[in-house]
């Protein structure tokens, strides 16, 4: 026969309150070694009490209280490890390059889709005069017709400045969208990649038709290689999400989405700081004539080469990643 519930609560409550107080302190600050040892002891006792309450007093407030307390303590006791700097170094030296190599198919498909868009855009504008009206924004058409590149007037009047901002932020948006839209079963990722390529192809061809192509390519040279690479990786991550939804394999869809999602997010988050770097280059180095054309081209090529060398070589042979990327 179990002891009366009131006696059980009266006997054990001081320990539970002590555990509560410790957890409150843990959530606000750090504990001393003696307190940690006490936390461990009290948590295990509370677990034993919970097991007992589940057996002898099921469905009572006491059982619910203990369930709640142990849940809170479980979260406090089993905290994730926090070697942040070491984890960060390992992430960039081993994990991220390994992920890119492991998921190269998705990234290649993503890059191919963008390339296909470029070819389509270029041929449309080259072969079909009305294609320009469809694919190139009116403002850009006007600027180009005046024999100017919109990128040169980035510090100038408000109209073209707004345009420059739009182009600048557009790339950031595209990067995030092609990833996140993977959740639309990949439909909008594919559309986004194609559309981005289409626009690049159309713009470059249009500028070449007006003798401004060289200028545009120089503008794109400094940030382009890195930025397009990151859009391709981000698109690949979006395709991974879609793959989890469409082709879960032997897992449930939710499970497949979670494991692939973890990998996809690592890819995109890892690239985010580099994307910020390209944004800075695009904002300050690429426009205007502050830097000579050869310097821009050299910078872009160097960054692109270093980026891909790092992704393809770094951390090779450092052991296989787990399936969920941990």
């Amino acid at each position: 026969m179990a002891e009366p519930i009131t006696a059980f609560v009266a006997r054990r409550e001081p320990d539970w309150r002590a555990l509560e107080a410790l957890l409150e302190r843990l959530e606000r600050s750090t504990l001393t070694l003696a307190e940690i040892e006490q936390l461990d002891r009290l948590y295990r006792r509370a677990s034993a009490d919970l097991a007992r309450a589940q057996a002898s007093y099921p469905g009572t407030d006491a059982a619910r209280f203990l369930n709640q307390l142990c849940g809170r303590a479980y979260g406090g006791v089993y905290r994730p490890t926090v070697n942040r700097l070491g984890a960060l170094k390992r992430f960039y030296a081993v994990e991220l390059p390994g992920l890119v190599r492991a998921e190269w198919r998705a990234i290649a498909v993503s890059a191919a889709l963008m390339g296909l868009g470029v070819i389509l855009g270029a041929t449309t504008v080259a072969l079909e005069p009305t294609g320009v009206a469809l694919l190139v924004p009116d403002q850009i058409q006007e600027t180009v017709a005046r024999g100017q590149l919109w990128t040169d007037t980035i510090e100038g009047q408000s109209a073209s400045s707004e345009l420059a901002v739009r182009i600048l932020t557009n790339n950031l948006q595209v990067t995030l969208q092609v990833f996140a839209f993977g959740l639309t079963f990949g439909v909008l990722t594919v559309v986004g990649l194609l559309a981005n390529g289409l626009q690049i192809g159309a713009l470059v061809t249009h500028c070449f038709q007006h003798g401004l192509g060289g200028g545009l390519l120089v503008f794109m040279a400094a940030h382009g290689p890195l930025e397009l690479s990151i859009i391709a990786i981000s698109g690949g991550a979006g395709l991974l999400l879609a793959q989890g939804l469409l082709l879960p394999g032997e897992r449930t869809r939710a499970e497949a989405l979670r494991t692939r999602g973890a990998r996809a997010v690592r890819l995109v988050l890892g690239c985010a700081p580099i994307l910020a770097l390209t944004g800075v280059i695009e904002g300050f180095v690429s426009p205007g004539h502050l830097f000579p054309a050869p310097a821009k081209i050299a910078l872009g090529l160097t960054l692109g080469c270093v980026f891909w060398l790092w992704l393809l070589r770094s951390g090779r042979g450092a052991g296989q990643l787990g399936d969920d990327g941990r």
Binding site: A2, P4, I5, T6, A7, V9, A10, E13, E27, Y43, R44, S47, A48, L50, A51, Q54, S56, P58, G59, T60, D61, A62, R64, F65, N67, Q68, C70, G71, R72, Y74, G75, Y78, R79, P80, I154, E155, S161, E162, A164, V165, L168, T169, L172, A180, F181, L183, L241, A254, R258, G261, A262, V265, R266, V268, L269, A276, G279, G283, F284, P287
Partner: protein
């Protein structure tokens, strides 16, 4: 236990006990979001007014920004929003001010604390749940999902749980009672609801309970309550 477990998740801890985590529903989540949105709105408003008082009007400054400056401002805005959600959730172990107010917390699906990566993930995907505006995508997913998770939670493998505060006063107030647990729960539950019941219902229910415990049937309401309270004071 059955009713509690309907939308909860059960976790087996290394100590070999089964924890039952109550999952937060759409109501809790929406209210917490409203609270957070309110906090952000007030904070931005304060910054706006303080800056306008000290310096020039914010709108003028924004108009004078060069292209690169505006892009930086846009990025900063995105970073601030992300920083609010992810920053608070990482620092407060799965809670934002709104979530703290509503007593809900983000945890991993196995009940363990969510890592920084998982928290950032669910907040990055907030943008998708928000589409096209004000979270219809997220709400649909929450309605379909058994644990009321939005897309970001599904990808990150996280879930929001309620942290109820449960009082033990019903036991400590009647510490001398040695009633068996089932009877004790019935008697305390009845006394806790006493004032909410109609007078006839009080007498009817109390008579049923007392008879079931082998006590004499009470004549009126006051004596019924007295017998119930007597049961809690001494050995039943």
């Amino acid at each position: 236990m059955e009713s509690q477990a309907s939308s909860g998740i059960t976790v087996a801890t290394p100590e070999r006990v089964a924890l039952d985590l109550p999952v937060a529903g759409i109501g809790h989540r929406a209210l917490a979001w409203l609270a957070d949105a309110g906090v952000m709105f007030v904070a931005l408003l304060l910054v706006y007014f303080v800056y306008s008082l000290v310096g020039r009007s914010v709108l003028e400054v924004a108009q004078d920004l060069s292209g690169a400056g505006r892009a930086v401002a846009l990025l900063a805005g995105f970073a601030i929003l992300q920083g609010y959600w992810s920053g608070f959730e990482i620092a407060w172990r799965g809670q934002t001010p709104g979530k703290r107010l509503l007593r809900i917390r983000v945890v991993r699906r196995d009940g363990a604390p969510a890592s920084a990566f998982e928290l950032v993930t669910r907040n990055l995907l907030r943008a998708i749940d928000f589409l096209p505006m004000c979270y219809p995508a997220g709400v649909v997913t929450m309605l379909v999902d058994r644990h009321h998770r939005r897309l970001g939670d599904l990808v990150a493998g996280t879930v929001l749980v309620r942290e109820e505060r449960i009082a033990l006063s019903r036991y400590t107030d009647a510490a001398a009672s040695t009633l068996p647990v089932a009877q004790f729960e019935t008697v305390t539950a009845l006394l806790a609801r006493w004032d909410m019941l109609e007078p006839e219902a009080r007498l009817r229910v109390a008579s049923g309970v007392l008879t079931g415990l082998g006590q004499p049937t009470p004549g009126d309401e006051a004596s019924a309550r007295a017998s119930l309270e007597r049961l809690l004071r001494r050995d039943g």
